[in-house]
């Protein structure tokens, strides 16, 4: 058992290394005819574009891409000029391709389309199939199929490791305003990939939903995944984390700090969330 665990740790370390190697951009020119001035308006397309685009292809990312709480690639994003999803600033950038999410900056998207810009919309991912699809699609759009396929392969290698370490422990995600991730959510997919069971899905919550403190206490999960972000100012939204009942049921041994940025958007970096959850599940016994 101990040896098995040791070997397992080894593999985790190897995966982490592989993941780290993926993050810096290997500079390479894009294909002929591919877009040369791409502007991304959404924090999720920002990150995929930074990973997939060739040297000089990506012109601007959204301001959120530079926020450490929202973006895994916030350091990388500092290299790009930012936009705030406003039609006027995007127009002045004169992009030949605009990347956007299906739920954000709707008015800007509609206006830019009327002005004749080429817009490609990406729906938020709710499963790893969606993540693969979005990455491959962006690869095709940018003329960078090989790079996208490489990233998908790396993601798949990382995910394959998850099944081996399945502990089947029950985990609940709990965020500000008592929200949890249920079935059909990317966070739910990450939890399953880490070999764990998702309380939100068990309770029949689809997507993101409200998890009452009462239900959380009675379900008594093995792990409670929180963002762990410290805010500069107080708000009622985070008072649920100091409620005496929450403290009793989610003591320090059960709390896992999974940064929101690691599973807010789909990408190879979701493996980081998988790794954190798997390590926490190994460390706690019921």
């Amino acid at each position: 058992m101990a040896r098995h665990r040791h070997r397992y740790r080894h593999r985790l370390a190897a995966e982490a290394l592989a993941l780290a190697a993926l993050l810096p951009l290997p500079p390479a020119a894009a294909e002929e005819g591919a877009p040369r001035r791409v502007v991304s308006l959404n924090v999720c397309t920002d990150q995929l574009a930074m990973l997939i685009a060739g040297e000089g292809q990506l012109h601007s990312v959204s301001y959120m891409a530079q926020l450490p709480e929202a973006s895994m690639l916030h350091e990388e994003a500092a290299r790009y000029p930012v936009n705030h999803g406003l039609a006027e600033e995007v127009f002045l950038m004169q992009p030949d391709l605009v990347l956007t999410g299906t739920f954000t900056t709707r008015a800007t998207t509609a206006l830019l389309r009327r002005l004749g810009f080429r817009i490609e919309e990406f729906p938020p991912e709710t499963s790893f199939d969606d993540v693969r699809e979005n990455m491959l699609r962006l690869g095709r759009l940018l003329g960078r199929d090989a790079r996208a396929a490489e990233l998908v392969a790396a993601l798949d290698r990382g995910l394959a490791g998850g099944a081996a370490g399945a502990t089947g422990k029950l985990v609940a995600t709990y965020s500000a305003n008592s929200y949890t991730s249920g079935g059909g959510s990317l966070a739910g997919a990450v939890i399953e990939a880490a070999g764990l069971k998702n309380l939100g899905a068990r309770l029949g919550i689809a997507g993101a939903g409200y998890l009452s403190l009462e239900s959380l206490v009675l379900a008594n999960p093995d792990l409670v995944a929180v963002d762990g972000r410290e805010y500069d100012a107080p708000a009622l939204a985070v008072e649920n984390f100091v409620h005496p009942a929450f403290r009793r049921v989610a003591g320090d041994t059960k709390l896992v700090n999974v940064p929101a940025r690691s599973w807010l958007c789909g990408g190879p970096f979701n493996l980081e969330a998988v790794r954190i959850l798997r390590a926490a599940a190994e460390g706690t016994g019921r």
Partner: protein
């Protein structure tokens, strides 16, 4: 029903209804556990997690529903008697919104985190300021309209400043929380909130309760009351600070909940022989019953949606208020 026996019957009936609603509030929740198991978990230590749910989540919620409802009913009855104005109520006069503003400033600047009593005290200060403004605007003859108009202005101002304070917060969630401060909720409150608010509310109730006899005399007009030996300054002090302490503390932990203080005294007045001294205890019980019922409804009608209490009380209260305005207008003509 206006004799002493009838009045006692009314109080006993209201007490029974309130007690039943209190127990009912303890039994309603997202976790579907049967009544006996729930109550046993509340009193014995062997209920495991259910004991935790009952004692730390449902009990504080029921206690706050009871005490905040009593606060609103009682202060509404006192304000209507003291201002001799049928439209007076903590929400409409801007007292609850001002208390919200005080609480918001204490909470979002971090004062409440460093000094817990700062939260109810700031709410109390906001409420006291609003009562004083309204009292000054009412003048000595207590015009019905001037009081309500002053209340409208105070409410609008306090609401706007609350919104400003929340917008200025560095916390991304703060701006959305205006809904809580405007409409009120008891979701996931804890015993900490009970201990923070209950002493202030009890202190306020004591101040309001002793105004009963003086309010009886005031129904004859301030001059007559003074000639009957009523100390008007003392009544003013008790009414203003009793309302501020109780409504301030209630709002600090549950947000501003409107219309309870308006509807309850009006519904019960016919059964108390229109005597304020009798109306006060009846309104306290009636307010408690109404808020407990509203808080049970938000959990039964829309579970998991965190429907705000003020929505339900406004559904009942706003049409009632319009009807009162209609009746008051006809009487004035």
């Amino acid at each position: 029903m206006t004799g002493t026996a009838g009045y006692r019957l009314l109080l006993a009936g209201l007490a029974v209804v309130t007690a039943l609603l209190f127990v009912c509030s303890l039994l309603v929740g997202p976790a579907e556990v049967d009544a006996m198991t729930s109550l046993r978990a509340l009193v014995s230590d062997e209920g495991g997690l259910m004991t935790l749910v009952m004692r730390e989540i449902r009990l504080p919620r029921a206690i706050l529903g009871l005490s905040i409802g009593a606060t609103l009913g009682l202060s509404g009855a006192v304000l209507q008697g003291y201002l001799r104005n049928p439209l007076a109520e903590p929400g409409l006069l801007g007292i609850s919104p001002s208390a919200s503003l005080g609480a918001v400033i204490a909470l979002y600047t971090g004062v409440a985190a460093a000094f817990p009593l700062g939260l109810p005290l700031a709410a109390l200060a906001g409420a006291a300021l609003a009562v004083l403004v309204v009292r000054v605007m009412a003048g000595t003859d207590g015009g019905v309209l001037s009081v309500i108009l002053a209340g409208v202005a105070v409410s609008a101002f306090a609401g706007a400043m609350t919104s400003l304070a929340l917008n200025l917060s560095a916390n991304p969630y703060a701006a959305l929380e205006i809904v809580f401060w405007m409409l009120g909720s008891l979701t996931d409150r804890s015993m900490t909130h009970v201990w923070l608010a209950l002493p202030f509310m009890a202190f306020g109730w004591a101040m309001l309760a002793v105004t009963g006899k003086a309010l009886d005399a005031l129904t004859l007009g301030p001059d007559t009351a003074a000639s009957l030996g009523v100390d008007l300054k003392r009544v003013r002090f008790l009414a203003v600070f009793g309302t501020a302490a109780s409504v301030g503390a209630a709002t600090a932990v549950a947000g501003a909940i409107g219309f309870v203080g308006l509807v309850v005294p009006h519904l019960l007045r016919p059964f108390t022989g229109s005597l304020p001294s009798r109306l006060l205890p009846a309104s306290a019980l009636g307010g408690a019953a109404m808020l407990l019922a509203a808080d049970i409804l938000v959990r039964v009608v829309m579970p998991g949606r965190d429907l705000k209490l003020g929505v339900l009380t406004a559904l009942v209260g706003a049409p009632f208020f319009l009807w009162l305005v209609w009746r008051t207008r006809r009487r004035m003509v």
